[in-house]
Symmetry: C2
Subunit: 340 residues, 2 copies
DNA sequence: CTGAAAGCGCTAACAG
DNA sequence: CTGTTAGCGCTTTCAG
């Protein structure tokens, strides 16, 4: 089918190994010889067979990316960051959507290991059985985990500072003068989300004034946010602001508020988390905590590409993006009807 | 490093080839022998080396997906559809983001061919030089193109019925009684977008009443839509509806309209194209033409997996999703202030 | 049913 | 600087 190095060598009148050396651009071959080989390779449209090379070198120059779903804009960004970094380093990325299903996850991992990827980037490993986790660790393939605090086994991690993000949100709302805040927290037991909650509570507790908080849990999706908010509103709770633990929830919250005849930010201030692209597109533009998604993917990939065996942990900074979904209840801005 | 078949064979006291046969579940090996081999393989945690296998079989069970950018929700959906289909068939997918840059595209293609992927799913090939296109075709690797009308070389294609989608949009707006419509058409020379335009014009021209249309071109993005609309509004054009050739443009249009003090759909009806997830989340929920994105990816993958050498062309149906961004100017619904 | 042997395309010592 | 020689781990004839 495809032309092989052997044919190139024969055509160029040199030995197989000489041809091989010529292509690797290392020294140890006469310039004229190399030129000849290269010319022939070009003419024959030769392309080295990476699988053959991989077999002998033991490196595939391929990496695995296991995430829950690329359709989630967060992961799409991460994937892009990871892919760009891989591309720059001459690696290819195999995309796997696990839906967080442990069986599917293991299936992918097995497949990836079987194809001898040089490393794995995964967004979670917590759902795997202890045995599987150990098997994974034993495989010896470098692994970096996304979005997990550095407490996992011996794996490297790359994550945003979720605690700090939650803290920023709480501090912001408290400073605007909100004294009764609802926090839509997503599922329990979701380490990076609970970190946000912890940061938020910390900020609110350390605020100069007294702030009351009601925390509700639910699905971390548009629908989940919508439902949590509906329920909250039905209970006639008095609160002037909500901190949603991600943007999707915030969007659902806005929808539910609008449907209940509340204005945002007039009656209700809302801050989200993630800063997905849509948050600047919807109305009102959402004030949210930006998480450096692309950089997260890139940073994770960089760690992976180092191929060191000592686990490395990278935590990226977050930032509050002030838009138009919050209003100040105190201070000079309070009259204006909008935050800041 | 990893345990090899040879070790399994030795441990099981059989020959290498017997071990190999045992694993392939084909007949030709005594049941007891196979059981023994399987047991040993399990115990040793043996996993076949796919690269070695690939070298001899000539098939890598890996496919390439070259799209412009996964961060584009349209492609994320397509990618997911393709990946699911690949997964179901036991294939892995290598993700490549080309940004539509011909050089990057060729780089990826080269890399993919070098790793001997069994097929390629690409979203465009039009920017490649004639020579590169021919080289691609000559490589003999099965290729299916996304979103391209079936006029390309000998490649298979999978695309939505863009013409029909444009037609549906035009027909819908005309029926609602709109007689002056702006069409935000995206860049010229973008085959699937121009198909939408053609369908739209066809519908409008064949409408019973006279409908005037102004077509404007620009970037097919939120920003592009925003700018096109600003310009249009500045020219004091009189139109009651706009058909945006994709949802991103529609979102930009809505933003620009809102900023200009126009209400949607009160003063202006807007229909988009794509039905990305956000279109149901924004306010007002966008009436748009649904393109079966996930199915597109899956269909393309199915064609690819057939590995036939006769090009196949699949065109998927589209559907108008009526939400709340349009209003009727005639008929009983006109009073209600909303379409239907 | 099982073993022996060749070879996929390439790299990497090792001689020369 | 260049050629010879082993394999990498696996599948696949071909004998037995």
């Amino acid at each position: 089918m495809a032309v092989t190095l052997k044919e190139v060598a024969r055509e160029a009148g040199v030995n197989l190994s000489t041809a091989s050396r010529s292509l690797h651009a290392t020294y140890g071959v006469h310039t004229a010889t190399r030129a000849r080989v290269l010319a022939v390779a070009e003419r024959l449209n030769y392309h080295p067979n990476r699988v053959a090379r991989g077999l002998v070198t033991g490196r595939s120059h391929t990496l695995g990316l296991v995430i829950s779903d690329v359709r989630n804009p967060f992961f799409a960004e991460v994937a892009r960051g990871a892919e760009d970094a891989a591309y720059a380093a001459g690696y290819d990325l195999v995309l796997c959507n696990s839906d967080l299903d442990p069986a599917k996850q293991m299936h992918y991992i097995r497949s990836l290991l079987a194809m001898r990827v040089d490393g794995l980037l995964m967004n979670s490993v917590g759902d795997l059985s202890r045995a599987d986790q150990e098997k994974l660790a034993a495989a010896g393939t470098p692994i970096v985990l996304l979005n997990r605090s550095p407490k996992n086994l011996g794996f490297s991690t790359a994550t945003a500072d979720n605690f700090q993000g939650g803290f920023l949100a709480g501090q912001y709302l408290a400073r605007l003068g909100h004294r009764a805040i609802a926090h839509l927290a997503g599922p329990r037991q979701h380490s990076n989300l609970t970190d946000r909650t912890r940061g938020f509570l910390k900020a609110v507790q350390s605020a100069p004034a007294n702030v009351s908080v009601v925390v509700v849990h639910g699905e971390h999706s548009f629908q989940g946010g919508y439902e949590m908010m509906k329920k909250l509103l039905a209970r006639h709770r008095k609160f002037t602001a909500v901190f949603a633990c991600n943007d999707a929830i915030a969007f659902g919250t806005i929808r539910a508020s609008l449907e209940a005849g509340l204005s945002v930010p007039g009656d209700l201030s809302i801050v989200g988390f993630d800063n997905v692209e849509v948050s600047s597109i919807i109305h009102p533009p959402l004030t949210t905590v930006d998480q450096p998604k692309y950089e997260l993917g890139r940073a994770a990939m960089e760690i992976l590409l180092k191929r060191t065996n000592v686990p490395e942990h990278r935590m990226l900074g977050v930032e509050l993006i002030e838009r138009q979904s919050c209003r100040a209840l105190v201070g000079p801005a309070a009259q204006a009807g909008k935050g800041k």
